[in-house]
């Protein structure tokens, strides 16, 4: 025992040896690093460092044909490093000329103190913005005498510019990062600093990460006269900014501009997509505004004005407006009724015109129409009966289960939910849950109670985007791609998969073809509700809607696509309080189709009437 412990005692030597060896290795390494290597000692005592953030150029935005929609313009931010500035301000011998400085910037002394305090609070040692987006004139004046104001320097940055002033809501805007956004970022990526710009809406928001690029950094040595003496450590600490990606949108800027012109003087929305891709071709909301208003130093002022406007120009009605779809919804009701086997194209229902119960018919046509006649004439009783036949279908074992099936199908068709692609602030619309009716009617309800749904009235609400998607689905004979704004990135990186994934709601293509042929007769049939807008060379399909609403006259609705074979464009038009679907929405949709497919329009009178037409609204100033 004794001996073994002696042997073990010697083990202390190895342990101590390891401790000492590591100590020696460290001291040698430190000697090499600190004394031998001169590489790290370039910093002269009196020099200060300036960290100049290198803002990357934000990605540009093009339309589907490569036309420029958004580009950048240079602006100048006046930055301050409080520590360096305060040294001069406290200097009594050769003081900081606050009066001249304020005069040059066109601010008063209080504002100067406020700005300085804000910067100090942010960081005493690191630069903070003192004044952002200084005008070019002020910039020129101050830059000349900047050497007299140590701690201050200019940082170049870019703001957005919109050459065409169209598609304001789609393109969105950027603005100084808010406190909330900053706090959220601090917990995650920690990329932004106070004064940085961030996408606030539209694609500027959804593609913020791609568009913004990655900030760079330049470390400059600055002498006591506020002059930059060159880069610190031969730029070893510098970081090149990475430019943002360019984005190509599915938008057709000519079609967009045309749509915006057609919508002048009306409230509502036009949404057009390319059915074969789901790319949005036109995304019109009216009234709109010039996107250049929300740029530069007056952004806040303009924003407040737009916000106060009773016509709500900031609202993107294409995704945030929820409307009763009216008769355009008969497409949905018809498709689900056929798919569930509740009706066939040969099924006829009785219609007594105005005398029909419980829903009267607003169109005069012979009784009893089959499916094709019903869709052409937009027969209310027919689709009420189809709806009733669906939810009463014995195969579901009960009305409530039947309703659940119907509700689930509308969800699959893209209603009552968001697509969540790349359009911020989408709204869900409304297809009520069956529990909603249970609660409302104490569990006692049936197909008659909720009959309004069959003709797209009552609780059902859709956004123009959702409605447009229904048109695309019928155009494609049964499937759709979630509607989205982007076409591709400038560097050809893949766009998110959700936008390129085909969605099949499970409606047999043969039923959709029946529907498609029905919608063709709306233009081509002798009694078609849009027959006046038929074009000989472009076979159009569509469905009118005239929706009752609590805000006054009927909403004029229309969904359409064309040509019938391999459709190039599908769209939805909603004109608030425009009256009949065939009065405003159908001709506007037809003109959009013609413009997109032909590239020009031949119906000049119609075009003129639509563009110059004004609808008077209660809120109008």
């Amino acid at each position: 025992m004794r001996t073994s412990n002696n042997i073990l005692t010697n083990r202390k030597l190895l342990v101590m040896g390891i401790f000492i060896t590591i100590g020696v290795v460290f001291i040698i390494r430190l000697f090499l690093l600190q004394v031998v290597d001169k590489h790290y000692k370039q910093l002269a005592d009196n020099n200060a460092l300036r960290f100049v953030t290198q803002y990357p150029a934000r990605g540009k935005v093009y339309d589907r044909n490569g036309n420029l929609l958004v580009f950048n313009e240079a602006v100048y931010d006046l930055m301050v490093v409080p520590r360096q500035a305060m040294e001069k301000i406290k200097d009594t011998v050769n003081p900081f000329d606050t009066i001249m400085f304020c005069h040059l910037l066109e601010i008063d002394k209080e504002s100067f103190i406020d700005r300085m305090d804000k910067a100090k609070k942010e960081s005493y040692f690191k630069p903070s913005p003192f004044m952002t987006q200084v005008s070019k004139e002020n910039y020129a004046h101050i830059a000349e005498v900047l050497y007299r104001f140590p701690g201050f320097y200019f940082q170049t940055r870019t703001v957005r510019h919109y050459p065409n002033a169209i598609a304001a809501h789609t393109l969105g805007d950027i603005g100084e990062i808010s406190k909330n956004e900053l706090d959220k970022d601090k917990e995650g990526e920690n990329y932004y600093r106070q004064g940085d710009y961030i996408g606030k809406s539209g694609i500027e928001k959804s593609y913020e990460k791609e568009l913004r690029g990655v900030k760079g950094l330049k470390v400059m040595m600055v002498d006591v006269h506020n002059r930059e003496m060159g880069s610190f450590m031969e730029g070893e600490l510098d970081k090149e900014p990475v430019a943002g990606k360019d984005i190509y949108l599915g938008l057709d800027s000519e079609l967009q501009a045309y749509g915006e012109k057609l919508m002048v003087g009306k409230i509502g929305s036009i949404v057009a997509v390319e059915p074969s891709t789901g790319q949005i071709l036109a995304f019109v909301t009216s009234p709109t505004y010039d996107p250049n208003l929300l740029v530069g130093r007056d952004r806040g002022k303009h924003y407040k004005e737009l916000e106060a406007d009773p016509m709500k120009p900031l609202l993107n009605r294409a995704i945030s407006g929820t409307y009763p779809p009216g008769s355009t919804f008969k497409t949905v009701v018809g498709l689900i009724a056929m798919q569930s086997g509740s009706i066939t194209p040969a099924t006829c229902f009785h219609c007594s015109g105005q005398a029909s119960m419980p829903i009267k018919c607003t169109h005069s046509h012979g009784s009893s129409p089959d499916f094709a006649n019903a869709i052409m004439n937009s027969c209310n009783p027919y689709f009420y009966e189809s709806f009733k036949a669906t939810i009463n279908n014995p195969k579901f074992g009960g009305i409530k289960e039947g309703y659940q099936y119907w509700k689930d199908m509308t969800y699959k068709l893209g209603l009552g939910r968001k697509f969540d692609t790349d359009i911020p602030y989408e709204r869900k619309g409304n297809i009520p849950e069956r529990e909603y009716y249970d609660k409302m009617y104490n569990g006692q309800w049936n197909s008659v109670t909720i009959r309004s749904l069959g003709i797209g009235q009552g609780e059902v609400l859709v956004t123009p985007l959702q409605l447009c998607n229904i048109a695309a689905l019928i155009a494609n004979e049964g499937y759709y791609y979630p509607p989205h704004l982007i076409k591709c990135f400038g560097d050809s990186t893949a766009i998110p998969e959700v936008m390129t994934t085909k969605v099949d709601p499970g409606i047999d293509p043969k039923h959709v073809r029946t529907m498609k042929n029905g919608l063709r007769t709306v233009f081509s049939g002798p009694a078609g509700t849009a027959r006046r807008y038929e074009l000989k060379d472009i076979p159009q399909c569509g469905k009118t809607g005239t929706a009752q609403n609590p805000h006054g006259n009927y909403h004029s609705n229309f969904i359409a696509f064309a040509p019938i074979d391999n459709p190039k464009i599908a769209l939805a038009v909603i004109i608030e309080n425009g009256g009949y679907g065939a009065t405003w929405a159908a001709p506007i949709a037809s003109l959009m189709i013609e413009k997109y497919i032909r590239g020009y329009t031949v119906r000049e009178d119609l075009e003129k009437r639509m563009m110059e037409g004004r609808i008077s609204y209660k809120n109008e100033r």
Partner: protein
């Protein structure tokens, strides 16, 4: 003689002196690292340097109380203390707050956070000392070996589950005390460990193929040697080579599948395989510049620019050594390194003069813990070790680590002062 009077004469003042030197250097470094002209007083309690003073005060108070407690208390209650901290590690796993990916804090409210893993090391040292100090425990017996290993591995596993790899690595330090106490195979593990690190690094630097060629050629040389000389041990030698081949073979897998991405990148940066001074290598690069710019005598107290301008992240916690290097220069860093080496050697010397196994094992344990902390922390700031976030004992800002290290050391000083009372 009254025990309370005698303690002053018996405690090891050299240890205490080194302790105070390190604590004061740490406090001033934190002040300098986080210096703010708006709050120029080192006593300003709203700033981290003021807060550190509170922690130092609290640590001194607890350390003083420990010196007054009966020395036998820690041996008697070692297991209870151990289980208490083991339980608190469990609590952290369930209720803890995540900081930088690791869940190692419990929020005690009022801005006070408690990191049990800092104390668990001390608890483990006490429990191991208590266990090996028992007369019926013999490390040559299989059962005793297993229990001793479990005492160390249980808290280590819990800390690993918190995703706090740095703190878990510290538990490796118990290899020193087990080696000293004659745990069979520990010497081999130490040598094997060094060999494994060497193979790991070389494989990453040179690629597997080259390593196979090198190992293969070595194998041929050895085989010829053994076959010609007809010495014994051929099988053992072949087994060792087989292990090395398997190890090299699995390096790629381990590196890519077991390690997390940030850990992989830190290793690649260290090995010079990944050159990214702005990204992953940023901390180390900045820290080397800060230390390197200090020169021989440093820029002087509060004159550091690298640390002042927030170049170095975590400069008051894990990278506090940068401030020492920048403002104190080589003089400062060498003094700090020497202070640590002196403290470690002193603890070993004191441990060896103990009569009780408990005190000796405890001494070796804390020497090991302090050593691993110092070696990893300083090694990382000067680019010799991958970035692993553990504090520098007595210097880094942080209440839990200051309290834990002080208590750890105070218990040992108390044991040492009491050594002559043990028969």
């Amino acid at each position: 003689m009254n025990e309370r009077n005698s303690i002053i004469g018996k405690i090891d003042w050299l240890t205490i002196l080194i302790y105070f030197a390190l604590v004061i250097i740490g406090w001033f470094s934190i002040f300098s690292a986080k210096y703010d002209e708006m709050h120029p007083s080192i006593f300003d309690l709203s700033q981290v340097y003021g807060k550190q003073l509170i922690w130092i005060g609290a640590s001194l108070l607890i350390g003083f109380v420990i010196l007054l407690v009966d020395a036998k208390f820690f041996n008697a209650f070692s297991l209870w203390i151990y289980f208490f901290f083991l339980a608190s590690l469990f609590v952290v796993l369930v209720y803890g707050k995540a900081t930088k990916g690791a869940t190692s804090w419990i929020d005690l409210g009022a801005g006070v956070k408690f990191q049990p893993s800092e104390f668990a090391k001390m608890g483990t040292a006490l429990a191991l000392a208590g266990y090996l100090g028992r007369l019926d425990v013999d490390l040559q017996k299989r059962k005793n070996q297993i229990i001793a290993a479990l005492i160390v591995l249980a808290p280590m596993a819990l800390v690993l589950l918190q995703n706090d790899t740095g703190s878990a690595i510290v538990f490796v330090s118990f290899i020193f005390v087990l080696y000293r106490e004659g745990f069979p195979g520990t010497g081999l593990v130490m040598v094997g460990g060094i060999l494994a690190i060497l193979l790991f690094v070389l494989t990453l630097v040179w690629s597997q193929t080259i390593m196979y060629i090198i190992l293969g050629s070595l194998l041929v040389v050895f085989l010829t040697y053994y076959l010609i000389t007809k010495k014994k041990g051929l099988v053992k030698m072949l087994a060792v080579f087989a292990c090395m081949f398997v190890f090299v073979f699995s390096v790629d897998y381990a590196f890519n599948k077991v390690l997390q991405e940030h850990q992989r990148n830190r290793i690649l940066v260290l090995l010079g395989q990944l050159d990214d001074p702005q990204g992953v290598g940023y901390n180390v690069h900045q820290s080397k510049i800060a230390i390197g710019s200090g020169g021989f005598s440093g820029k002087g107290f509060l004159q550091g620019t690298q640390t002042k301008y927030d170049f170095v992240p975590e400069q008051h916690t894990d990278f506090i050594f940068c401030t020492v290097g920048e403002e104190g220069g080589f003089m400062g860093t060498a003094i700090v390194v020497l202070l640590y080496v002196a403290l470690l050697v002193r603890i070993i010397v004191l441990a060896e003069r103990q009569r009780s196994t408990f005190s000796r094992v405890y001494g070796y344990s804390i020497a090991g813990i302090l050593f691993v902390h110092v070696a990893i922390n300083i090694g990382m700031t000067i680019g010799l070790v991958p970035v692993i976030g553990i504090p520098l004992p007595f210097l880094s800002y942080g209440g839990s680590s200051m309290l834990a290290f002080t208590m750890m050391l105070a218990i040992f000083v108390k044991q040492d002062a009491n050594r002559l009372n043990i028969l």
